[in-house]
Symmetry: C2
């Protein structure tokens, strides 16, 4: 069922457009995937997302496994049936959360024993379990179970971690036998180029439907993230989709597209929204600022999103400051629209052979420091 | 601009249907007004409310006065422009909140000096200020500034309170000179029938566009609320709308309609929703209950609301337990639909001369105790 087709390559950069065919629909790449950790993209209904033409959402295996639990998802007939989202879903493997959120018990050769961050209950997830859970969830794209190496990590730690992750990746591949679900490998190796290359090569030997670069967007400087992407990408097959996990800011995304990344996910547009931060073509603005108190214009002039067409900065500022849910909804809607529109513009610019011009213009206008 | 027309009176009860003509549209009564305390009905967009055919919303003067503040509302050109809601708005006078939420400084003859519950800043609101604030807000229906007598209150306290409230009501009437805004008086008098009657008579002498019964739904038994309504209603002019402030449960509303009340407001459908409580024709259910974990049916079979048409009990339960905003949105949507549909059904039953049959059926099915 799963098929990636490379449609156009940019002449002046590594940027490319493609189409990802999945069980629940076709995705145009490069694509940004809003994060729906617990089965909803925070504050949005799935009808909102459809109206905004969101192509694919990401859901977190670790969270769904703990709550509502696999009995519920299984009985519902998978996550699509449970939550009502009709489009494609990508699930992470739970590895990242097991290592970052839970009280870690013990890394064993077959997986990790950990305690739930919700109630302290004891669980075990390894490659076999992660694949089984994602099979029950019924995501269109599953990820291998890996150890997300913390940042910073010593060379030795990263080296062992890569070995373990590659071994687990092979086990995931062995256990995975769904025709309706793609399986992506994840390149780890921290900031060590040789480890990254080694990991990429070994994963490509195993042969996955797509490849992610993991362990980035975890606190390292942007330059390091770009360097690692530059290091890894030449070792990934051109005809497979490439996913930079957890990335990023609009600038991070545009830079990474120009290197040849096809897929992105980040909590930034949704989490920032709930804190009152809105993305505009000039950069981020914080709607709480006193300057917007009497500003009855939209968050961004000319923006076609629901929030900008119907509500003012002054009103949204009041909503956010007063702690009203509507404020979070409106800014989430705006920020997701901003990200989605940016990806549309990126794809259009690659198609018409002008990605570098688009990128230059975007970066000239966009203030990456924050407030406009 | 404001005009109330009595359309039909029920033969077997005091129930009646009417139409309220306001600056921002015509309202069919009996009507339930969702509460939009800070300028939004919590978790709903105004477009959601329009789609649900909500006829009128209530906004709280005290809250809007403190935040965003009158400079913002004034500059926006009133609350309608500020928030984007195109239908009618009723504002309370702020009296209830000044007495119940703020740190009270001093009741003076011209009003109340109090400290904001938000930042402790000192403010003064009396009849003159309340009318001025509501003029700036630009609500379609304004309420007089009164002392909402606490429950319980001694006879002497209630007696003095009534005298003060009537004096303030007269001042409000004197200050109020908007053709685009109706002004309602509020009958106080606690549980003392003679005080209630005295207050009603004196307010009717002043002559308002409509009359509210205040100081109820504040913790007294339902029987007391019904008795006070029975006591007061005969003294209110038949051709003016009657509003039972802060009422109530579905059963409270049906009983009060049968006595001749036309207007209702209550935080119950919205606040309960955020706590996981949903209204159904069989009574309230708590969606958190384990019994709904694997229940993939809608909150109420046959319900035409957005939540019931698209989401299951099991999914909404998961959303509420996981603290996801979507859970609050879906149950708010359902509960407001339930209240609105009930009011539609009430109006239809009065029109076809079968309100008592409708009421009997409703009460037979509806479990007022809670869980179905």
């Amino acid at each position: 069922m799963f098929k990636f087709r490379l449609n156009k390559k940019d002449r002046g950069s590594g940027a490319r457009t493609g189409t990802l065919k999945t069980t629940h629909g076709i995705i145009n790449t490069p694509v940004f995937m809003p994060v729906g950790t617990q089965g909803s993209v925070k504050s949005m209904s799935f009808q909102d997302l459809e109206k905004m033409r969101i192509q694919i959402i990401l859901a977190n295996t670790y969270h769904l496994y703990l709550r509502p639990g696999m009995d519920v998802i299984k009985k519902a007939g998978g996550l699509h049936n449970f939550c009502g989202w009709k489009g494609p879903i990508l699930t992470d493997s739970g590895g990242y959360q097991v290592f970052s959120m839970s009280e870690l018990r013990k890394i064993e050769k077959d997986g990790v024993c950990f305690r739930s961050h919700l109630d302290g209950s004891e669980h075990f997830i390894g490659p076999k379990e992660a694949i089984e859970i994602q099979r029950v969830i019924g995501s269109d794209i599953a990820m291998v179970f890996d150890e997300c190496t913390p940042f910073p990590a010593t060379y030795d730690y990263a080296c062992n971690s890569v070995s373990l992750s590659v071994k687990w990746a092979q086990l995931c591949k062995n256990f995975h036998n769904s025709k309706n679900q793609a399986l992506f490998g994840i390149v780890q190796g921290s900031v060590y180029k040789d480890l990254r290359i080694k990991c990429a090569k070994e994963l490509v030997d195993i042969d996955f439907d797509g490849y992610a670069i993991g362990g980035l967007s975890v606190g390292e400087p942007d330059t390091v993230m770009y360097e690692i992407a530059d290091t890894v990408l030449p070792y990934l097959p051109e005809k497979k989709p490439r996913y930079l996990m957890g990335c990023g800011t609009p600038v991070n995304i545009i830079e990474s597209v120009s290197k040849g990344i096809d897929m992105f996910d980040c909590v930034m547009p949704t989490r920032n929204a709930r804190n009152g931060s809105a993305f505009t073509s000039r950069g981020k603005i914080n709607i709480r600022n006193a300057g917007y108190k009497l500003d009855f214009g939209p968050v961004e002039q000319g923006c076609g999103c629901f929030a900008c067409k119907n509500y003012s900065r002054a009103f949204i500022r009041h909503m956010i400051i007063a702690g009203e849910i509507l404020g979070a909804r409106l800014l989430t809607c705006h920020n997701l629209h901003f990200y989605n529109k940016m990806m549309q513009d990126i794809r259009a610019s690659v198609k018409r052979g002008n990605f570098c011009g688009y990128k230059e213009n975007f970066l000239k206008t966009y203030n990456n420091k924050g407030e406009e």
